[in-house]
């Protein structure tokens, strides 16, 4: 019987299955960070349990670390306790840790692939919803709660029920100025934040095939914003090239064996999907969000929508609430929205290609007087690479702050936050109320659009920046 990519990975990881479909699924790779793991390790201690396969787990502090100089330690008491706790837990249970001042430290979903810890065909979990990012390499990757983190540490497995198969085909050719961020925003805007609930989404089609692996990561990263358990993209030659020679990638004979296996990771020709959705890549424009849900998208050339035109009563109420929170009026031009802050970074858009693209647009220009702007590279290695290429200088000369790696203002757990009513063009993934700081107003955009907003001081069309 023909199988989807998801079916193949799922079947390959069955340890045990009950008659009702409840499955014990093997976990090949487990990523751990400081915020969602302390209670899991504490649970192990209380029960006198061990970590079953410590070598399959990799830990890094990223969520609450400061992005200012941290060679002298972390000032915030609570953040320090969490990072210290992670350090102690890793030591006690024998887990590999990239500590705060390690060059390899960075956002968990950036360092996994960067090190070759992430690999095609594996099941990867982490106590973070954006674990879906790793699906860009053809791995089944999803976020779990802390109780499940504890379960994985103790058993190297997870109790799961299989999701349904959804394929999103993006065909055609995306216009100049449109990036994978716009593609995924378009998809979420089309199917809604619960459109993927109950499914694993496979992204396919010309547009996806033509993206670089880093651009694909942006797509899978935001799959969770459409409610799906995971996002998947079949590995191809670009994927193989990406992994060759990475520190934790298979070597020698094992590399050859792995490649043979990875080449089988695609949905069979006649595989059955429970649902398929078509998106025309030719019609995607640079997008921004206007509201407090990632599905609230509009082309940069468009207008803030009028809730009165919405028929669904709950949706109408949600739109009014969003507009009030965001301080926007129905039918105002998106490009008339003035911004105060610019944030480039996060597991969505904090990789070297994102920084290169932004720097290319920014070169020789200055940020507008009314904005303050920051770049937070996704990892120490991304930062180093960017500095070798002189990208840091372009940002600094333009007026951006050049920071240390971490999750930063994507979720505002450290001091990188918006003040009440401050408005931000952000390359992150969530525009929820209070996400980047209480009362803060987030507009999700691509790195190029963030640069355009930085230069003009308003949400602006990247296609108008030379």
């Amino acid at each position: 019987m023909p199988k989807t990519l998801y079916d193949k990975i799922w079947d390959d990881h069955l340890v045990h299955q009950e008659a009702d479909g409840t499955t014990l699924l093997y976990v090949d790779r487990h990523l751990v960070h400081e915020v969602t793991s302390p209670q899991a390790f504490e649970g192990l201690r209380t029960q006198g349990r061990k970590v079953r396969r410590p070598e399959l787990t990799l830990a890094v502090p990223d969520h609450n670390v400061p992005t200012s100089d941290r060679t002298k330690g972390i000032k915030d008491k609570q953040s320090k306790i969490q990072v210290d706790t992670l350090r102690k837990n890793c030591k006690d249970f024998g887990i590999n840790l990239f500590d705060v001042n390690d060059k390899r430290q960075g956002i968990v979903h950036i360092i996994g692939p960067e090190q070759g810890f992430t690999q095609p065909g594996t099941v990867i979990v982490c106590g973070d919803s954006h674990t879906a990012t790793h699906g860009a390499f053809g791995s089944l990757a999803f976020g779990i709660g802390t109780s499940e983190v504890e379960h994985v540490l103790a058993t190297q497995t997870l109790i799961q029920k299989k999701s349904k198969n959804l394929r999103v085909n993006v065909n055609g050719k995306i216009p100049i100025g449109v990036t994978s961020k716009d593609v995924i925003l378009k998809i979420i805007g089309t199917i809604g934040t619960a459109g993927g609930t109950g499914y694993v989404i496979e992204f396919a089609g010309d547009v996806i095939n033509n993206l670089s692996v880093e651009q694909r990561m942006t797509i899978c990263n935001m799959t969770i914003e459409a409610g799906a358990r995971a996002g998947l993209i079949a590995p191809d030659e670009k994927t193989l090239k990406y992994f060759k020679g990475r520190p934790m990638s298979p070597k020698g004979e094992n590399w050859e064996k792995a490649v043979q296996n990875w080449k089988k990771l695609f949905s069979d020709k006649n595989a059955i999907f429970d649902k398929e959705i078509e998106i025309n890549g030719n019609e995607i424009e640079p997008l921004v969000t206007w509201g407090t849900s990632p599905q609230d998208v509009s082309p940069i050339t468009g207008f803030v929508p009028d809730p009165e035109k919405e028929n669904d009563k709950d949706r109408k109420a949600a739109m009014y609430r969003s507009l009030e929170y965001m301080g926007l009026k129905p039918m105002m031009k998106i490009s008339d929205i003035k911004v105060d802050k610019i944030f480039i970074g996060s597991c969505t858009n904090g990789r070297i290609e994102d920084l290169r693209l932004a720097a290319k647009l920014l070169k020789g220009k200055k940020i507008a007087n009314n904005v303050s702007a920051m770049v937070v590279p996704g990892s120490g290695l991304v930062k180093q690479q960017a500095e070798e290429e002189g990208i840091d200088k372009i940002f600094k000369n333009a007026g951006f702050q050049w920071r240390e790696p971490g999750c930063s203002m994507c979720l505002g757990m450290n001091e990188d936050q918006l003040s009440s009513k401050e408005r931000c063009a952000s390359t992150s993934n969530r525009n929820f109320e209070g996400r980047q700081g209480r009362g803060g107003r987030t507009h999700l955009v691509s790195p190029g659009m963030a640069v355009a907003a930085a230069i003009k001081g308003y949400l602006s069309d990247v296609r108008e920046i030379n």
């Binding site: 045990h16 009950e18 009702d20 409840t22 014990l24 093997y26 915020v35 969602t36 504490e42 029960q47 349990r49 079953r52 399959l56 969520h63 609450n64 915030d76 609570q78 306790i81 969490q82 690999q119 106590g127 973070d128 919803s129 976020g143 779990i144 709660g145 802390t146 109780s147 499940e148 379960h151 103790a154 058993t155 190297q156 497995t157 934040t193 619960a194 609930t197 109950g198 409610g227 799906a228 358990r229 298979p250 094992n254 590399w255 064996k257 792995a258 849900s293 709950d314 949706r315 109420a317 949600a318 609430r321 979720l411 505002g412 757990m413 969530r430 109320e433 209070g434 209480r438 009362g439």
Partner: protein, 198 residues
Amino acid sequence: MKKFNKLKSIPAHIPLMNIDTDMIIPKQFLKTIKRTGLGKSLFYEMRYDESGKIIKKFILNNEPYSKSQILIAGKNFGCGSSREHAPWALLDFGIRCIISPSYADIFYNNCFNNGILPIVLDEQIIQDLIEYSLIKKEIEVNLETQEVFYGNKKINFDIDPAKKKRLLEGLDNIGLSLKKIPSIEKYEKDLKKQKPWI
């Protein structure tokens, strides 16, 4: 984990769709290394103003809802992050049961790992329940029989039998899975042969 069987409570209703985990428990409270103590910060930005004062009009700040053990909310409840701090905060506040037309996937699973019952009901029925909740009378939830009683009405709800069993018996998932060690060991042996690079 605490067992769940029957529950009687006056339900509190928050009339919003897409209530996300950032609303349920904002980021600043994720710095804890404990599971407890989050109840006072549940729905923080809706419950307290910027100076930390209680916002009177928010439902959970008012009797009898400040003691509600059942929460009724709009669809796609719990969307956003995987933070288990969200169910921990609900539980610490006293919420043991949520009623919504739909939930986000990770949040839904997290509930079952914390003895919280998330019930899915049709929007129409929920509307009826909401109207009933306005008279501040108790409703009753029975997991064993999969029924919700309010006034003289009774409605049934669906739930995955395995998840139901775990809640009813308060089972420790890890303990159960550790009983499958022989299967795990066999899988790992095969894995080593078939995929030596893992």
